[in-house]
């Protein structure tokens, strides 16, 4: 092993039926280092992590750990934890209804008799030393998501972990929370913990990381010092091609702006649902891309869900081409030519065990009717067409969707709605948790569809993404629409100030 290295993975292979997920991947982690693991969806990041944590067994290669003179064999996540490898996942895997201390010590073999007083004291000490704003006796669910994540990290730290894996820890955090998390990561780094950081946010990589390892298509592209690898280089290495797309796309958007005085295709007046949003007005023109922006929980998703009939509508009207239509449930919206890609792909989008083909045709099939199933050949044709069109990486159209990577799952859901040829497509966080390449693809696709006359509402947590695609933005705060920005007002600063409440509504 290299000097100072605490973990070395050498020539790791992993084969899934029909796919070489990892081919001869090397990875080295040193003590006191934050190491970013980067790559597109399906590049093999998750697989590598899962091999390291014993979720998958490897098909070739060795793993060396500091303190073990022979290559180690990791059979389960429990074994990995015993060897000092802990993982904190994107989704919190703690128990929200237990206290912070209980969560930190649960399942750690403290014996039958538990001295809660002592444990609470111990937990408080650790929380304090890591500067985590939580009390040992507090119920976990009363903490913010960020603090919950920190508790998960504290648990790992207290278990004497040497290698800490953070898998997309920041995707549901706001900026201040991210800052707190980074402070904690730097503290741990000082203590000599090696941190593997998996994220899709480039900014964050450059903010905290020391080194970057890039994977592509299951192979190692290279390991780089952060200062030797400028952003553009990193993106092009991840994608395997020179990339000017990001700069390209921003210049284009003005072209697709709708003519000023065209009547709206869809219009909502005083719409209100049982999801707790205040009544709001909204309209969209033909070929327009607009967006809802606001902090997490400001009611962005709830607004579009109300339009689509996904939540129970309590009041207000929706008009199509000026005529009132009734949308009580999603099928009504679909019949009126509306498509909705939901925010949480796992919970609301994919039908996990069904094949990619079935997932693609689902919405159109429902529209067509119970007694008119597509023939196998028709369904296959649709699926193949969209797999090709959106470049969905799947072994075949028969593969269950749950075995695809996140970005490809998202593309399948996108394909599902494109297949229905909607007049109005609502995309709620279509780019969350997916890689840069796919993000760019989706943004380009949105602009292309709009240029062909489709109206699109695009919601994203990343403001610059929305600035690139939207020609009009509805700003939300505390579950109410507080403003609308167009043209020259569409700047990062203006959006921020409107969200924060510095600007009053025009009226």
């Amino acid at each position: 092993m290299k000097e100072n290295a605490i973990l070395e993975m050498k020539a790791i292979d992993k084969v899934f039926p029909g796919v070489l997920a990892l081919q001869g991947v090397d990875f080295t982690l040193c003590a006191g280092e934050i190491h970013a693991l980067m790559g597109e969806n399906g590049a093999g990041k998750s697989t590598l992590i899962k091999v390291l944590t014993g979720v998958y067994s490897k098909d070739g290669g060795q793993i060396y750990l500091k303190g073990y003179d022979k290559p180690v064999i990791i059979r389960s996540p429990q074994e990995a934890q015993k060897m000092g490898i802990s993982t904190v996942y994107q989704e919190i895997t703690l128990c929200p209804n237990l206290s912070v201390a209980e969560n930190m010590y649960i399942g750690r073999g403290e014996g039958v008799r538990v001295n809660w007083k002592k444990i609470n004291e111990k937990a408080d000490a650790i929380l304090k030393s890591l500067d985590i704003p939580a009390k040992a006796t507090q119920q976990l669910s009363s903490c913010s998501i960020a603090v919950q994540q920190m508790v998960a990290i504290a648990r790992a730290v207290d278990m004497d972990c040497k290698v800490l894996i953070l898998d997309e820890p920041t995707s549901s955090l706001d900026e201040q929370e991210v800052a707190k998390l980074f402070k904690l990561m730097r503290d741990l780094k000082e203590r000599g913990v090696g941190i593997i950081f998996v994220t899709h946010f480039l900014d964050q990589v450059y903010e905290v990381c020391d080194k970057i390892t890039v994977l592509r298509d299951g192979r190692l592209v290279g390991e780089y010092e952060i200062k030797d690898l400028p952003r553009v280089q990193l993106v092009s290495k991840m994608l395997g091609k020179e990339l000017d797309d990001l700069s390209d796309i921003s210049g284009e958007h003005k072209k697709f702006q709708a003519e000023p005085n065209t009547p709206p295709v869809f219009e909502a007046v005083g719409l209100q649902s049982d999801a707790g949003i205040k009544p709001f007005d909204f309209y969209i023109q033909k070929g327009e891309v607009n967006g809802f922006t606001g902090l997490l929980g400001s009611g962005r998703s709830e607004c579009v869900r109300a339009i689509f009939g996904a939540d129970r509508v309590l009041g207000g009207t929706v008009k199509k081409d000026g005529n009132a239509i009734k949308i009580a449930k999603p099928i009504d919206a679909m019949r009126n030519g509306i498509g909705y890609l939901p925010e949480d792909r796992k919970v609301d989008g994919i039908v996990g065990e069904l094949s990619v083909r079935e997932n693609i045709i689902l919405a159109l099939q429902v529209l067509k009717g119970f007694f008119k199933p597509f023939s196998r050949a028709e369904a296959a044709r649709f699926a193949d067409e969209y797999i090709k069109l959106l470049d969905i990486k799947t072994a075949s159209a028969d593969t269950p969707i749950k075995s695809l990577s996140g970005g490809n799952q998202q593309k399948v859901i996108l394909a599902r709605w494109l297949l229905t040829h909607p007049e109005y497509l609502i995309l709620d966080e279509p780019t969350r948790g997916i890689d840069v390449g796919t993000k760019v693809d989706i943004q380009k696709l949105v602009l292309k569809l709009a240029s062909e006359g489709m109206s699109i509402t695009f919601i994203s947590s990343e403001t610059d993404e929305m600035l690139r695609t939207c020609s009009r933005m509805v700003v939300m705060r505390d579950r109410a629409v507080v403003g609308e920005l167009t043209d020259d007002d569409l700047t990062q600063g203006k959006i921020m100030s409107t969200i924060a409440g510095g600007e009053k509504k025009d009226e």
Binding site: K329, L354, V366, F371, P373
Partner: protein, 351 residues
């Protein structure tokens, strides 16, 4: 090999082969089929295999409905046996009219059957309503009918035992003159054909699986998950009515507390043995139907070895544990991994 192992149909077929081989070794006469004549002088085939074909068919019919209920709701209907009692009781009530020892039938059999279908579907709808609209756990919801069903069945006929004396009525659970194969097999075959046509020419399969796997997603794609679940229970009701007709036809009468006793467990086992997840979602109808015949194969085998009826469930349980453990994804993955390792080794040794 691993592809075969992964195929759902593999489990019931493997179980069937295992049972067949066991019987072949223990006593090959198990497979003997003889042509004889019944009391009416009509040719009938008899033998253990015929028994399996005969009684397995009832189970296969129920397995169709149970598969749909399981897939859509992620739970099982345990009131099937009680519902058969009700439905059978209705058939007899209609056929016998006021006089429960009527010499001639008071109504055509088809009318009696259709009325019992309606009644069984209403009870299915009752279960479906509790599960789909009131969101009650399927087993808890159907526990109500499981408890009350046999009393309702007895009440329909004022707790008397009506007897149908007409020979024609016995055809459904016995033999049609001139055809030596038991009628239930043909009835089951008709049901199987119908369900496969339905699955082919409607979206029942896609919708049921979608609802079972991800209810949220199904709603957001324009489906009505409550209705789909409700529908599954109503279809099971229809299956119950068909099975009930066979059951009462066998005896020409009914014993409220014994008829179709524990049949719900066999029907659920058929679904499980077909490799379908009892937590719902994806299903394979062919595997369930095969599973039903395998369960009956097992029961008949045990009877043949003179296992007393009371001890039957215990023996069955042991075999079922083995089968279900073997069909668990964890175990199958392990086996296919071992197999892969073995074959890999073989390849390198050869090279």
């Amino acid at each position: 090999m691993s592809k075969i192992l992964k195929n759902q149909i593999f489990i019931p077929i493997a179980a069937l082969l295992l049972l067949a081989v066991f019987n072949l070794i223990m006593d090959p006469s198990f497979f003997k089929i003889t042509l004889g004549y019944n009391s009416a002088g009509d040719p009938v085939l008899s033998g253990y295999l015929m028994t399996i074909l005969d009684y397995g068919s009832e189970l296969a019919i129920l397995a169709i409905g149970m598969t749909l209920v399981t897939a859509a709701s992620g739970g099982q209907d345990i009131s099937v046996g009680a519902a058969i009692a009700i439905s059978g009781s209705v058939v007899l009530r209609v056929l016998c009219g006021r006089d429960h020892h009527a010499e001639t039938m008071q109504a055509p059999i088809i009318v009696a059957f259709l009325i019992s279908c309606v009644v069984a579907m209403i009870f299915g709808a009752f279960n479906g309503t509790l599960v789909a609209f009131f969101k009650i756990q399927p087993m808890v919801a159907t526990l109500i009918l499981f408890t009350a069903g046999r009393s309702i069945a007895a009440w329909i006929n004022n707790n008397e035992l009506p007897i149908v004396n007409e020979v024609r009525f016995s055809y459904f659970g016995g033999f049609i003159p001139g055809i030596p194969i038991p009628t239930p097999f043909f009835i089951a075959a008709a049901c199987v054909i119908v369900i496969f046509l339905v699955l082919k020419f409607t979206n029942l399969g896609l919708y049921t699986q979608t609802v079972g796997i991800n209810e949220n997603a199904s709603r957001l794609n324009g489906l009505n998950p409550e209705f789909i679940k409700f529908l599954a229970f109503v279809i099971l009701g229809l299956c119950v009515a068909v099975a009930a007709l066979i059951k009462v036809s066998r005896l020409s009468t009914i014993n409220y507390s014994v008829i179709a006793k524990d049949i719900e467990m066999d029907a659920i086992l058929a679904v499980a043995l077909g490799g379908n997840a009892l937590s719902g979602g994806k299903f394979n109808m062919t595997a369930s139907i095969l599973g039903a015949y395998v369960i009956q194969f097992l029961t008949t085998t045990l009877y043949k070895f003179n296992v007393p009826a009371d001890a039957l469930p215990a023996y069955k349980a042991v075999v079922v544990i083995l089968l279900v453990v073997f069909s668990a994804p964890v175990v199958r993955d392990f086996i296919s991994a071992q197999w892969k390792r073995l074959t890999k080794k073989g390849v390198t040794e050869n090279a």
